[in-house]
């Protein structure tokens, strides 16, 4: 069944050369697929390397992402994908914060609060439909 796209004509950007994060062999933010387009989050400029902060000494990672449009209803799903990817890729000692770029979304504070409430994240990932959606977006990252 076709559904209406939230952003029908996204701007597609090129893929960049990547550095590797120290002490992990995983390029953890790459190639996550957009929930509604056949492009990666990087190609849509949703995530970029300079908005991933890693403090290896303090076991801390922060990813700031920018939805393609500021009323994007997929923002929580994208954030969830980023969190799940990091949870599965990084050693459990890491503390992870996921947030929207300031000014990038109409309900920025609400989305940030939800993405960083681990109880709601845990409950969301037990929802079969949502879990399937996240797995689909993450599938290319495990090729």
């Amino acid at each position: 069944m076709l559904r209406e796209l939230i952003n029908a004509n996204p701007i597609v950007h090129g893929k960049k050369e990547r550095r590797r994060v120290q002490s992990t062999s995983t390029n953890f933010d790459e190639d996550i697929k957009d929930p509604e387009h056949p492009y990666s989050l990087e190609e849509l400029n949703v995530v970029s390397e300079d908005l991933v902060e890693v403090d290896d000494k303090h076991n801390y990672v922060r990813v700031t992402f920018t939805p393609t449009v500021e009323h994007c209803s997929m923002a929580t799903v994208i954030g969830l994908c980023l969190r799940v990817k990091l949870m599965r890729s990084l050693p459990s000692r890491y503390k992870i914060d996921i947030r929207l770029a300031p000014g990038s979304h109409s309900t920025e504070a609400a989305v940030n609060k939800q993405l960083n409430d681990k109880e709601r994240v845990a409950a969301a990932l037990e929802n079969p439909n949502l879990a399937e959606m996240v797995d689909e977006c993450l599938a290319p990252t495990f090729v």
Binding site: S92, R93, K95, K113, D117, K118, E119, R120, A122, A123, E126
Partner: protein, 343 residues
Amino acid sequence: MSKIDSMRGNLTLREIQKLEGHTDRVWSISWNPSGSMLASCSGDKTARIWQQQPSGSWNCMAILEDTHTRTIRSCSWSPCGKLLATASFDATTAIWQQVGGDFECVSTLEGHENEVKSIAWNPSGSLLATCSRDRSVWIWELQPGNEFECVAVLQGHTQDVKMVQWHPDLDVLVSVSYDNSIKVWAEDGDIDDWRCVLTLGEDSSGHSSTVWALSFNPDGDRMVTCSDDLTVKIWDTSSNPSQNAGGGNASWFHLSTLSGYHNRTVFSVDWSRDGVIASGAADDAICLFHEDDNAPSYRLILKKENAHDMDVNSVQWSPKEPRILASASDDGTIKLWQLSEIC
């Protein structure tokens, strides 16, 4: 004066035992009233009962499984110690009773629209409160034969309700929420119904983000709350807020804010019989606070960094041994700690 005052500055939290067995994060723990058993519940959809052996060590004596189909978020023993309630993301609450060496599910409470987050028994054990992501708080009355009847559905929070707790003496219920507020509920004798008698929000010197937990001191004249805003707050609860009707001035009010001690979300607080407040947080640390001589000021008496390998989700003092603390973590373990003086 508690004995803690004489131990100023020379305290240590010594790990007695690590309880392993859960295969996912441990969300919550609850001591039975005699302190002889500890219940724990987890994202692995089970609850476990741990019992102290004659040797002094704690073993898992029962695994409660195949009843909840999703995460068990919270567990709580009834005041008589005969029943254990478990609240689950599957939107149900189960009541368990010990039969021989086993625990049987004797009742299931259904009604919430989605995840049940917390459960609490009132002091007499006649009422059980549950709260949910559906923003409501339900009060259930225990009927003969382990039947539960819903006597009130409390609406008022505008978001996810994280925890409910009863006042230790009064039939006054407190709920805390993702909407940052603390609400106090009491039965209105005139209309024979439960209603919100007090809301402590940011404009009452309350929290500025999700309130995760609360605990009363044994006398019930103080309450502690903790939050995603990284603070722990102390409240004066010496008046009875149910007599607040008609604009009376009996109310609960803010006494103290403890900030700068945790640098990530504070998930759990518990007030011991000895007057020590324990807090557990997403920074993997446990902090202990005590009331100063010049009350109502509170100070940090100990910070245990790296108490667990991951977030500390729950801290609970033993009701029997006031210096024994249990903690539960995302690392899947439960730890038992002894608070003692450094010799």
